[in-house]
């Protein structure tokens, strides 16, 4: 899954994004509201972790922008502001969760997964679609109960496609979602094609059907019917 981290403390930001990338996520770290707004405008994120006290204003602005845009991003506020009033303001603006600093990484991680489950899998720990099952916390998936061995990128790709069922995803969106925002620097997205091809092959080998439809010139769509 792809995470946007808005945190002005460079050291904490670095540690957090390193931690997140280790647990199978793409994490984009920015240190100011202006950079966060730019990111939100250009890219999509599964989860946004937002600090409130930032050098150029209140992190709530980023939440407002996400809500204005109608983004499906899950929002967790991470802040040293512990007053009930602050929490209520944050949640009322549109945040899904509030985690006061200091916190344990494991707690943050649990909340991220919990929010992700709620947003995409109705809160279930595992997600099943016909013969395909995904266990996000374990980074595992299976077809007809048989273990499906995927590379990290293939797994991310399948999770992204599945959590956006019946939605056409263009190649650029897929690339920036799975490989990181920097990927809009490149012009050729042939590598996306290679990964989709490999994923299809592996699903097929395990006896699954091909639900990934190629949309000419645009990208891919995971079709549920």
């Amino acid at each position: 899954m792809k995470i946007l981290l808005v945190e002005d403390d460079a050291e904490l930001g670095k540690t957090l994004s390193g931690f997140m990338e280790n647990v199978n996520s793409t994490c984009e770290h920015v240190q100011s509201i202006s950079d966060a707004l730019m990111k939100v405008d250009l890219y999509e994120y599964d989860i946004a972790l937002i600090d409130r006290v930032l050098p150029d204003g209140d992190g709530l602005e980023v939440i407002k922008e996400l809500k204005n845009k109608g983004a499906k991003t899950g929002i967790i506020i991470i802040s040293a502001m512990k007053d009930t009033e602050d929490k209520v303001t944050g949640l009322n603006t549109g945040a899904d969760d509030y985690l006061p600093k200091p916190f344990h990484f494991s707690e943050l991680n649990a909340r991220i997964f919990s929010l992700f489950r709620r947003l995409h899998f109705d809160g279930n720990k595992s997600f099943h679609f016909k013969e395909i099952s995904i266990y996000p916390e374990k980074f595992e998936c299976s077809i007809n109960g048989r273990d499906l061995k995927l590379t990290r990128k293939e797994y991310d790709l399948l999770l992204f496609l599945l959590s956006n069922k019946n939605r056409v995803l263009n190649k650029e969106l897929i690339a920036t979602h799975i490989w990181g925002d920097n990927y809009d620097l490149v012009d050729s997205f042939d590598f996306v094609y290679n990964h989709v091809k490999n994923l299809r092959k592996k699903i097929k080998e395990r006896g699954g059907s091909d639900y990934i439809k190629t949309i000419y010139g645009i990208g891919y769509k995971f079709e549920s019917n």
């Binding site: 490989w179 990181g180 920097n182 990927y183 620097l185 042939d190 590598f191 290679n194 645009i218």
Partner: protein, 423 residues
């Protein structure tokens, strides 16, 4: 050469010229005066001898010494009264050297007791040797005084110039630190000199005007980027909606794709503009970044594209560089530099990265450049073939480089492109 050194140089050259001319004139004048004095003393001496001669008739020969020779000759016939003064060369019997002499030759006639007139010649020669020695010493003393004067006056001049021009250097310093991008005001030190105060006033007024214009322009850019955002978002969300509808034909999809590409380009352009206008005001805080790890994480992250384009990446780390940048700026710099090297590369091409303590160089294969390399860093300069690039990447790099007083250089040789960052 700076102002003070130039002033001192002119002063020294001019003084040497004036003093050389002065020295020559003093030498000439002194010689003329000395020769005149010598001839006067010769005449006086001759007068004494002549008086004696006229009173006593014949007088005995003088003892002559080298340097002062008196010779009296008598002739059978009377001679006409005549006096000649001139130069001559006489061999010194002691040193065996020819020496310059001034001589006075007087001819005349005396009558003896019988009333017979006969002629005489008195020649008094005096050596220039003493005079010359005196002159040489005089010149030496004059030169010593001159050199002392040049040094003392030079130092004095330097001190005065430095004092007088001090406010000017203060103004220069303030001017070079002045950056309207940081919305600072120009602070100029007050001066006791009227002209500098006038200059201060003019510069302050100018900087206020620049700041005002810059602020207005920045506001305008921010307003524009903000205003453009809404329509772009509308286009993109409508595209997204349309994309989800069934039964889209291939031409429909092509149109949709081109709409999205254009909107994405506009959006990126808008954000880049925003970034540039913000980077101007951002405090240029200096950190220290490990460039090697930034480069490595970029390469790791882009491994899939590098693989799919079949690019050969080689790197040469001569020395570990420490770059005075913050993490996010280093990230923007590296991703733009390496991103360009990937984006403008060709299938099966290569990228070579070289890192030294003072340089970061990226050499990559690519298409032959269709314009002059100097135009590379101008905003909105972009290659015809790559529709997507907003042409602002390199100008962002340039902006960051400028703010942090580093240098960037681009050169190309047919299909090889080299971008070097000096820090």
């Amino acid at each position: 050469m700076n102002l003070l050194n130039r002033t001192i140089l002119y002063y020294v050259v001019f003084s040497i010229m004036v003093f050389a001319l002065g020295g020559y004139l003093i030498h000439r004048l002194a010689s003329v005066i000395l020769v005149r004095q010598m001839s006067q003393s010769l005449m006086f001496e001759e007068q004494l001898i002549e008086d004696k001669l006229l009173s006593f008739g014949e007088i005995p020969k003088f003892n002559t010494t080298p340097g002062h020779i008196v010779d009296i000759q008598y002739h059978e016939n009377p001679l006409r009264q005549n006096q000649v003064v001139g130069d001559t060369v006489i061999n010194n019997p002691f040193t065996q050297r020819d020496e310059d002499y001034l001589y006075l030759k007087e001819t005349g006639s005396i009558s003896d007791s019988t009333g017979f007139y006969r002629g005489y010649t008195i020649i008094i020669s005096r050596s220039f040797e003493d005079t010359n020695t005196f002159l040489a010493r005089l010149i030496m003393i004059i030169w010593l005084v001159f050199i002392l004067l040049i040094i003392v006056l030079g130092l004095f001049n330097f001190w005065i110039s430095r004092r007088v021009w001090k406010p000017f250097y203060g103004i220069l310093e303030s001017l070079s630190a002045y950056d309207p991008g940081n919305l600072q005001y120009l602070e100029l030190p007050p001066s006791e000199t009227d002209e500098f105060n006038t200059l201060n006033q003019a510069l302050t007024a100018m900087s206020e005007k620049i700041n005002r214009n810059f602020g207005e322009l920045k506001e305008l850019v921010e307003d524009i980027t903000h205003e453009i955002k809404a329509p772009v978002t509308i286009i993109r969300s409508n595209y997204e909606q349309l994309l989800q509808s069934d039964n889209l034909t291939e031409p429909n999809l092509k149109h949709l794709k081109s709409i999205n590409d254009a909107a994405a380009r506009l959006s990126r352009l808008n954000n880049t503009l925003n970034l540039i206008s913000h980077k101007n005001t951002r405090i240029s805080s200096r950190g220290e970044v490990d460039l090697i790890s930034v480069v490595h994480s970029f390469l790791l992250n882009f491994d899939d594209v590098i693989q799919s384009m079949g690019l050969r990446v080689s790197e040469q780390i001569v020395e570990k560089p420490t770059v005075p940048l913050t993490d996010d700026l280093a990230d923007i710099l590296v991703s733009n530099m390496l991103g360009n090297a990937i984006k403008h590369n060709v299938q099966g091409g290569s990228i070579h990265i070289r890192l030294t303590a003072k340089e970061f160089t990226v050499v990559n294969t690519g298409k032959v450049l269709d314009r002059h390399p100097d135009q590379m860093f101008r905003r909105h300069e972009k290659s015809e073939t790559k529709e997507k690039s907003p042409g602002l990447g390199l100008s962002i790099i340039k902006k960051i480089v400028e703010i942090h007083q580093m240098k960037i250089q681009y050169s190309t040789d047919r299909n090889m492109h080299t971008l070097t960052l000096y820090f």
